[in-house]
Symmetry: C2
Subunit: 194 residues, 2 copies
Amino acid sequence: MKAQLSKLSKRDQLIQTAVKLFAKNGIHATGVDSIVEQSGVTKKTLYAHFRTKEELVLAVLRHYDGLARNEFMRKVERRATTPRARLLAIFDFAQHWFQQHNFYGCLFVNTIGEYSGKDTPIRQICKEYKKLVKDYIHSLCQQAGVKNPQGLAEELALLLEGATVTAQVSQNPKSAQIAKRAAKALIDKALPPR
Amino acid sequence: MKAQLSKLSKRDQLIQTAVKLFAKNGIHATGVDSIVEQSGVTKKTLYAHFRTKEELVLAVLRHYDGLARNEFMRKVERRATTPRARLLAIFDFAQHWFQQHNFYGCLFVNTIGEYSGKDTPIRQICKEYKKLVKDYIHSLCQQAGVKNPQGLAEELALLLEGATVTAQVSQNPKSAQIAKRAAKALIDKALPPR
DNA sequence: TATTTTGTATACAGATCTGTATATAACTTC
DNA sequence: GAAGTTATATACAGATCTGTATACAAAATA
C-alpha cells in the first residue's frame, strides 16, 4: 500500500504520509510503525530525520501550516478580485474544502484537542496558525476600507472557525453557506454597500 | 491521589474520573490504568461495568451530554428573562465557561477530532449533542418571535462554536465578547429592537 | 447464619508503542 | 575506484496498552 512519492525526499515522504494519518486518525492513535509502513521508509531513517515522534509532529504541523495558509490565500484571491468580495469568497473556499473526501476538520484544532492539558511547542504552532489566518482576514478588511478592521476580522474568523467545526461534526458542508450569510450581514454593517 | 467520590457509585466514580482525564489529556492518551488509579476503583470492577474502554467512552459522553446541556440551559435562563436577552446571555455563559481553570474546549469536538476517520457510535453522540444545543437556541429564537428562527439559530450556533474553539486554541476568553458583538448585530437584523 | 453479590489486590497474557542495535546494500563524491 | 553517506531489512529492548485470571474480603440478602 505504498503511495507514489518517489520524487520526494525521504523526509517529505514521511511528513506527507504522517499528515494524512494524523488528520484521519489523530496523532496518538497513529503509531510510527504505520507511518513507516505506509511511507515506504524505514524506521531507522525516520529516527535519523526526527529525534522523536513529537519532532515529527512539529514538522508535520509546520509543513501543513505553510501549505494550508498558502492555499487558503491563493484560492480566495482567485475566486474574487475586490477585498470585499474576497471576504465573502473565504466561505466559498470553505464550502469547497468541507466537501473534500479527506476533510477531517482543522488539523490544528484536532491537535490541540489531543494536547489540551499540556503546554508543548505543538500548542504554539496551532495558536500561531490561527493568528496568521486572522491577520490575513484583517488585511482584507483593511483593504476594503472597513472602519474597525480588527473587529470585523475577529468576527469573520470566528464564523470560519465555527463553520469548520460544524461541518466536521455534523458532516454537512452547508455550514459554509450559513457562515457566509452571517458574514454578509456583518460586512454590510461594517461597510455599507454604496 | 484519590478524589473525594465516596458518596458515588463505583460506576459514577469511574465516569467522573474519566471525564476529567479525557477532557484534559484526550481519550487515546488516557489509559484505563490511570482511570483506575485516580478513581480508586479496581480494573476488575471497571470491566464489570463496561465491557470495553469504548463502552466507557460512550458512557462518559452520554453522562457529559446530559450534564453540559442542562447546565447550559439553566445558566442561560438564570442570566436573563426575555428570549432575546437569553440569546445574548448564551455568550455571557460562554465567557464564564472559557474562564474555568479546567476549560479544555468542547469535549465532543475534541472527541470527534480523535475519531475523524472512523464511524463509531461515538460520532453519533457528538453529532446529537450539537443538534440538541442548536434546537435549544432555535426554541429561544422562536420565543423571541424571529421570522426565520432556524436561520438565526444556525448562525448563533456557529458563533458559539467558533468562540469555543478560538478560546481553546488561543487560550483567550475574549472570543466570547467578539461572538456576542456579532450575535447582537445578527439578532438586531433578524428582530429589530422596537 | 449461609449464600450471593460486589468489591479489592495483584498478577499476567498478548498486543502495540517508542526508540535502538546490527548487519548489509546502494548511491555520492572525491 | 575508494570512502563515506544514506538507505534497507530486521530484530530487539523496555514501556505501556487493553483485557483477563486468581484469590480473597466485605457486604448485602435469603
